[in-house]
């Protein structure tokens, strides 16, 4: 159970406070309701590049990191297709420094050309390090446009191509800031050894003077229902053949979301899971096999991926995956197996409360979804899922004519 108090400032900024007196630390987490899905298709990777620029100095504070380190704090951030999230951890007695820094960059950035130039280079190197210079590193750059034809999920957060980042201009950066980095589009969570009344005073002092800005109204093109099997084959200098299968599934707020999450657990959570036992151990077709969900806010993907044992044909491997998916469509999952994955989820949720930062991030994310209290209802939602639900959603989901399959093959030279 993660308790919290909540209030909203005059400029529309939502603030949540989680008091935890067992730690001498505090966390200040701020979530901006903007992700790669909000980008212009001709300027992809921008939300993430922008995240880097948020560390390039703000209107009154030339250097973001240094003053924070000076008070014993650390920070980082991440960008996903849905959100951009920034966080600070520091000794709680120095919490005001976090308010000072974080409010100034919400007020306005310094927009330095030097920072833009450097971060364009840094992000280009990140692109190379994580996506281009790794075996199988570009899978998601290929799989997203195969599975999505209209929705902005068709590109990855790093962007479609290096040139989009290389061509970013300071005017674009300023426009992006104005559009998305307003109090109305943000959720602030303060957690740790703090008191709500003190947080309220600090929030009013540092954040309330920031102009509300304009509310960004999201209006994304939604994906049409997929009615044909899609495949793509890549041959590259990798040592093993691999297969990636993507199926459409509902978004984070759909009533069936929790059932999909448990379905992926049945298939692939740990060494008692179906794919691991059947395909890796018994049939020995794969050296790695996984199923997972993309957990996106708009309708997303259910993925099955594996690396094949040398000498196994891709047809055999694919057929074996389908056999497991078909089994979910025709047979009910046993009560024991369902209880097993539910128990596991329940315990994962208890363990996740060991981390102050995780608690703060989760509160912000669930508040974005509509209500931070959803976080505390998760266990109940998982427990409601029935074997019939799993069979029903499997029948809705696992069809050839709604699948996108990527064959990632070795060129034999690796």
């Amino acid at each position: 159970m993660v308790d919290f108090n909540r209030f909203t400032l005059a400029n529309g900024l939502k603030v949540l406070v989680h008091e935890d007196a067992t730690t001498p630390m505090a966390v200040l987490n701020i979530l901006y309701d903007v992700g790669a899905r909000d980008e212009n298709p001709e300027q992809t990777g921008f939300a993430h590049l922008f995240e880097h620029l948020m560390f390039g100095g703000s209107v009154n504070i030339p250097n973001y990191d240094e003053p924070l380190q000076r008070v014993g704090g650390e920070n980082n951030a991440f960008t996903s297709n849905d959100i951009t999230n920034y966080y600070i951890t520091l000794p709680s007695e120095n919490i005001e420094t976090a308010f000072w820094l974080e409010s100034d960059r919400m007020l306005n950035l310094a927009f330095s050309e030097k920072s833009l130039e450097t971060q364009r280079n840094v992000v280009s190197e990140e692109f190379k390090q994580r996506y281009l210079n790794q075996p199988y590193g570009d899978v998601w750059l290929k799989l997203r446009p195969l599975a999505f034809k209209k929705h902005a999920y068709r590109w990855a957060t790093i962007g479609k191509e290096l040139s989009h980042i290389e061509n970013a201009k300071i005017e674009d950066v300023k426009a992006f800031f104005k559009k998305h980095y307003t109090p109305q589009n943000a959720i602030l969570v303060v957690g740790g050894n703090v008191k709500t009344e003190d947080v309220k005073k600090l929030a009013e002092k540092w954040f309330e003077p920031i102009p509300a800005g304009e509310k960004y109204i999201r209006n994304l093109v939604q994906e049409d229902k997929q009615t044909e099997a899609r495949t793509e084959t890549i041959t590259a200098s990798v040592p093993l053949n691999a297969i990636y299968m993507a199926f459409k599934m509902p978004g984070r707020l759909d009533a069936d979301y929790y059932a999909f999450d448990l379905l992926s657990d049945i298939l692939s959570r740990g060494q008692s899971s179906r794919l691991y036992n059947s395909l890796l151990k018994e049939q020995q077709l794969f050296s790695d096999i996984n199923a997972y969900i993309s957990s996106s806010i708009d309708p997303g993907l259910f993925i099955v991926e594996g690396k094949l044992i040398e000498g196994i044909s891709i047809e055999t491997a694919e057929k074996a995956i389908w056999a497991e998916l078909d089994r979910l469509k025709s047979e009910l999952v046993s009560e024991t197996e369902l209880t097993k994955v539910k128990n596991k989820v329940e315990s994962v949720l208890v363990f996740s409360e060991m981390s102050l930062l995780d608690k703060a991030m989760n509160l912000a994310y669930y508040e974005l979804l509509g209500n931070a209290d959803l976080l505390n209802q998760e266990t109940t939602e998982f427990l409601k899922v029935t074997a019939e639900d799993l069979k029903r959603i499997s029948n809705d989901t696992f069809h050839h004519n709604s699948s996108s399959t990527l064959y990632y093959l070795t060129d034999g030279n690796a």
Binding site: V71, T118, S237, Q271, S287, K340, K344, A414
Partner: protein, 423 residues
């Protein structure tokens, strides 16, 4: 009127409280160190074993045993073990690191009585079925093939090999090593290493008298001792060496350089950690500022000191654009030289002090982290005065002392430099 240019007042971290464990012994003498917290109904139990009987011809013995440990006993198949552990929402993790192999059980307190017998069965009666070994060899060889396509991994391997040769710290694992794994060797290693007289148990969480009774009931009896010999290695100081593997297709080059240094037991260790922090130990470090934030050559660069039982080593690691690799190397050496020739300013030093104290405070997030801090010192043969001394050193070290440490420990002519990619 709010003055946003004025930083709020702040305080340096003054006290850091470490929760020390209580020690008890099981009936067979296995020490159990417990850090109790009643906040959440969860328990973490770590069974920690020294790595033993190192055989240079069989460098994978300990690793393979650790990975295959939960693959079947006389009573339970690997699938049954996994199903039962999962059914109780527990986690059973095996881990191999250079000096130790550990088995960690995470469980809700209410299920402890159900999962402990499974853990006991695995730790005392693992059978290593040949079919499981064959699958392991096949899959590990495939994973190795993928790893060997990553320049970062290649640089780690070459670096470790150069510093530590064919020991458990440096062995360069090849596919043939996997092919050479024999069931008899694994069984022998299991009996030697996973024995009560080679075991230390560290518990954290809601673990009370009753829980201790359960633990003692299962692990305090009927568990065979062994006469294994704990690994011990000696290493000469490295001498300058350049290792370069060209990868014509590389978009980035992996750089790793460093040398044998000291470990926790050495009196200079805390000072060297501060020096390391200045150079490359945090986001605002000199290497990050110069090579990422000023030049944009890389997504990240850092340095570190790794403390092993029989050695310590210092390293700098990064992946940089292939076209700027030579420039990046020049800048790295320049930053090292600067620390030897110029004093760190008071302003920078104070920042690093505060950062390190805050970081230490933040690293004590929950009961598990307190147990981790205990393990760091316990297995190095040190007491809690180690942390007291660390904190005092961070607060009081002078710029002159840091310079002297740089001159003593960062001699470029002791460095091993590895570049994988293009220069």
């Amino acid at each position: 009127m709010l003055n946003r240019q004025q930083a709020p007042d702040f305080k340096q971290v003054s006290t850091i409280n470490f929760i020390q464990p209580t020690e008890k012994k099981l009936d067979n003498g296995v020490p159990v160190f417990t850090i109790y917290s009643g906040e959440q109904d969860i328990v973490r139990i770590e069974f920690i074993f020294n790595n033993v009987n190192y055989d240079v011809d069989k460098p994978l013995q300990a690793v393979a045993v650790s990975s295959l440990l939960n693959n079947g006993t006389q009573k339970l198949t690997s699938k049954q073990i996994a199903e039962q552990i999962d059914f109780y929402g527990a986690f059973f993790q095996t881990e191999y690191v250079q000096d130790q192999s550990s088995v960690t059980l995470y469980s809700l307190k209410k299920h402890l009585a159900s999962v402990l017998p499974i853990a006991k069965d695995v730790l005392s009666d693992s059978q290593f079925p040949q079919t499981e070994i064959d699958i392991y060899i096949q899959n590990q060889k495939q994973k190795l093939q993928v790893s060997l396509k990553k320049n970062d991994i290649l640089s780690r391997k070459a670096f470790a090999k150069a510093l530590f040769g064919d020991t458990a710290y440096g062995a360069d694992i090849k596919a043939a090593h996997y092919d050479a794994i024999k069931r008899d060797d694994l069984v022998a290693y299991f009996k030697a290493a996973y024995a009560p007289n080679n075991c230390t148990i560290v518990v954290s969480g809601k673990f009370d008298e009753e829980s201790f009774g359960l633990l003692n009931h299962h692990f305090g009896h009927e568990w065979e001792a062994s006469d294994a010999v704990k690994n011990h290695f000696d290493f000469p100081q490295t001498t300058q060496q350049f290792i370069y593997q060209e990868k014509p297709e590389a978009l980035q080059s992996a750089i790793r350089l460093g040398k044998i240094a000291i470990n926790r037991k050495h009196e200079d260790f805390a000072g060297l950690q501060i020096l390391n922090c200045v150079l490359g130990g945090y986001f605002g470090s000199r290497l990050m500022n110069n090579i990422r934030e000023d030049k944009g050559y890389t997504y990240g660069i850092g340095s570190g000191i790794s403390a092993l039982q029989d050695a310590g080593y210092f390293f700098i690691a990064t992946e940089v654009g292939a076209d700027v690799c030579a420039n990046a190397l020049t800048e790295i050496y320049k930053e090292i030289e600067l620390l030897k020739t110029e004093l760190v300013s008071e302003e920078e030093l104070n920042l690093v002090r505060n950062y390190m104290l805050g970081s230490m405070l933040g690293s004590l997030e929950n009961v598990f982290s307190h147990a981790d801090k205990f393990k760091n010192i316990h297995f190095a043969g040190l007491g809690y005065d180690y942390y007291e001394k660390y904190i005092q050193t961070v607060k009081r070290i002078t710029a002159k002392e840091i310079q002297a440490l740089a001159q003593k420990y960062l001699k470029a002519d002791d460095f091993v430099e590895v570049v994988i990619g293009k220069k």
